[in-house]
């Protein structure tokens, strides 16, 4: 894949994601104020330069410092939960789809049950039952409950790959079960898995903020969700203290929007059929590349189709 094939949309998304990651990584180094230290009065207004550049929250803590640390927390939770969820979903989907038979039946039944029960319900029930909640337990809970749709999508694709000829060749050459999965099935799904992972990360960040706003957030760490929890609890929206709730709202929106934009632009790269027919063809002819695209796309039928059918819908759904 050459860089020239990437749409402007991809670059916009990549820059936004990079910005968010920078805020989470470098922000806490630049803003040296302790997010738990009281530096001002109740909802003190923003004033230039120093820890109060975005004002103070309901406990007189610096909003800018809470914001950068909160961004970091949200990113950590999203990354940990997203990776766990994708890994479990990938493993279950691969095994179920490639193995088939009763293993497939059992795993698919579990996945279908899991899909039918709203994820938030399970997460709420587990979090309420936990004696202590911190950053990582929250990430684990989200990761271990929100993987079902990944498993279903991966299963659909790997079961279509199972019937292809190169799998027979691999079997005849004596490759083992896991080796076939890793070297002959997984590469066909890789683009899809990357996109699913991005969706999982943004979903996990949203789940975290939803849980925190309901009062089930991590008790010892600031996250964007807990900032909003306190802002709403103390009526900052009503009193007009915009600096308490606009920054975390903006940051969350930016994170989720940039991740979804990244996913959808990658989707267009990986699924040529999603590109607008005429424009894409014209472009291909003009550049003199990708002339084989229509045939290849047709050949990749089952995988491509599944990817399209699953991803745009579940993108909106999974939250």
């Amino acid at each position: 894949m050459s860089l020239r094939g990437l749409s402007p949309r991809f670059w916009v998304a990549a820059v936004l994601v990079a910005f968010v990651v920078l805020v989470g990584l470098i922000g806490p180094l630049i803003v040296s104020t302790n997010p738990d230290a009281t530096v001002g009065g109740l909802y003190e207004e923003p004033r230039c330069c120093g820890p109060l550049i975005l004002g103070a929250d309901n406990e007189g803590q610096s909003v800018i410092s809470n914001l950068v640390y909160g961004t970091r927390t949200s990113l950590i939770i999203g990354l940990v939960a997203g990776l766990i969820g994708t890994a479990i979903g990938l493993l279950v989907g691969l095994v179920a789809g490639y193995r088939g038979g009763w293993i497939d039946d059992v795993l698919s039944a579990i996945v279908n049950v899991g899909l039918a029960i709203p994820v938030l319900v399970i997460i709420i029930l587990v979090s309420v039952s936990l004696p202590k909640r911190n950053l990582y337990t929250l990430a684990l809970v989200i990761g271990f409950t929100a993987w079902f749709w990944v498993a279903r999508a991966v299963r659909a694709q790997s079961s279509s790959i199972r019937t292809r000829e190169h799998i027979d060749v691999a079997k005849l050459s004596g490759a083992g079960f896991w080796s076939i999965l890793r070297r002959d099935v997984l590469p066909y799904l890789l683009s899809y898995v990357v996109m699913a992972c991005i969706l999982q990360i943004s979903g996990a960040i949203l789940f975290e903020s939803t849980l925190s706003m309901l009062g089930l957030g991590a008790s010892n760490t600031t996250s964007l969700g807990t900032m909003l929890y306190w802002a709403i609890q103390w009526g900052s929206v009503r009193t007009g203290a915009w600096w308490a709730f606009v920054p975390p709202t903006f940051m969350l929106t930016l994170i989720v929007f940039s991740l979804l934009l990244l996913q959808s632009s990658l989707n267009e790269v990986f699924n040529p059929r999603l590109r607008r027919g005429r424009a894409a063809r014209k472009k291909a002819v003009k550049e003199g590349t990708e002339l084989g695209t229509p045939i290849e796309a047709g050949d990749a039928g089952p995988v491509g189709t599944e990817g399209i059918l699953e991803s745009p819908v579940s993108a909106g759904r999974d939250r």
Binding site: V237, S264, I308, P312
Partner: protein
């Protein structure tokens, strides 16, 4: 006949999932180390909300209600029996009040903002997505980026911004709650006229996000259909565009229809927080209060209710899809 078998299978499947949901609702609170009633009553005592004698009374009540002196499987059947009799238990925090009453007070408000949002959002979103995909050009670009943005804005973020701009800064609509102070809910024109001013903002913040999500999905479906063989064939034959569009629309519609049911879970999730932001007295606010007070029976009743709502929506969509799309029936009854 195939249709009946298809529906029967779907109903059976829904029942299986329902039993699993009941099990989860039953088991998870019992995973709290030690006796859940002791833990919860202990927390109540720490909070200082209730006196010693009252605590004793509460403790006995719950020991009896949960049947904690009995073995686990018997407890489960007691729980299931209660649920099927429509008895969701007694609230911890507002002690003598039954969970049923609390839910009955909250549920109509939630339905009032969520149901119209689902219906309006689904119709408008799909129309927008289909038109954008077909027309292309600036309309498509604008509608797509707009919808993508709306659908990826967390619902509560939109709610917070709308509340701040329209109600607090603009002063156009009331700031929070569901009806003016001093009124009591009743079926009268005066009350309705008052309540609807409070209803607009939560409704809009839900419906905008939902329109965005549906439009993005529909656009992808329609573009995918636009590139398919039958469309090219029709073009080659010189069939009128309007005629082809009907096929495209109907084909692209089907997945969206299943999506309607699945997206209901997401909408409910968003709706819960939206209610919180607007202090709308629905299930979301009730859940929030219950979590703050460790009011387990209320929490578990709400999660159960959400699950049931989602299950019923899924089942309804499955059955309706079976009626609409003969292929699904054929595949389902032919397979296994």
């Amino acid at each position: 006949m195939a249709l009946a078998r298809y529906i029967g299978r779907k109903v059976a499947w829904t029942l299986v999932v329902f039993v699993v949901a009941l099990l989860l609702n039953f088991l998870l609170p019992r995973l709290i180390p030690g006796n859940p009633v002791d833990t919860i009553v202990g927390q109540l005592a720490q909070g200082g909300g209730a006196g010693g004698e009252q605590l004793q009374q509460i403790h006995e009540q719950y020991m009896k209600e949960f049947g904690l002196d009995k073995p686990m499987w018997q407890q489960f059947f007691i729980y299931v029996g209660n649920v099927f009799q429509g008895d969701l238990g007694t609230s911890f925090a507002q002690y003598p009040a039954s969970v049923n009453t609390l839910i009955a007070q909250a549920l109509p408000w939630s339905i009032a903002i969520m149901l119209p949002a689902i219906i309006v959002g689904w119709i408008v979103g799909n129309l927008l997505g289909a038109v954008a995909a077909f027309k292309g050009g600036w309309l498509d670009r604008g509608a797509f980026i707009g919808s993508l943005f709306l659908s990826s804005v967390p619902p509560f973020a939109l709610a917070i911004i709308l509340l701040f701009l329209v109600a607090v800064k603009g002063g156009i609509l009331p700031v929070g709650g569901a009806y003016s102070f001093g009124l009591t809910p009743e079926f009268s024109l005066a009350f309705f006229g008052d309540a609807i001013t409070y209803w607009w903002l939560p409704f809009w913040s839900l419906v905008l996000v939902y329109i965005g999500g549906q439009a993005v999905g529909m656009r992808s479906m329609a573009i995918y259909e636009l590139g398919s063989d039958y469309v090219n064939y029709n073009r080659g034959l010189g069939v009128k565009e309007g005629h082809t569009v009907r096929y495209i629309f109907r084909n692209a519609m089907l997945p969206q229809f299943t999506g309607l049911a699945l997206s209901i879970a997401a909408l409910i999730t968003g709706g819960l927080i939206t209610e919180l932001v607007f202090s709308y007295p629905g299930l979301g606010s009730l859940l929030f209060a219950a979590i703050g007070q460790n009011d387990y029976p209320v929490i578990s009743a709400i999660t159960l209710l959400i699950t049931i709502a989602v299950l019923i929506a899924n089942l309804a969509a499955d059955i309706l899809t079976g009626f609409i799309d003969p292929r699904i029936r054929a595949v389902q009854s032919g397979e296994r």
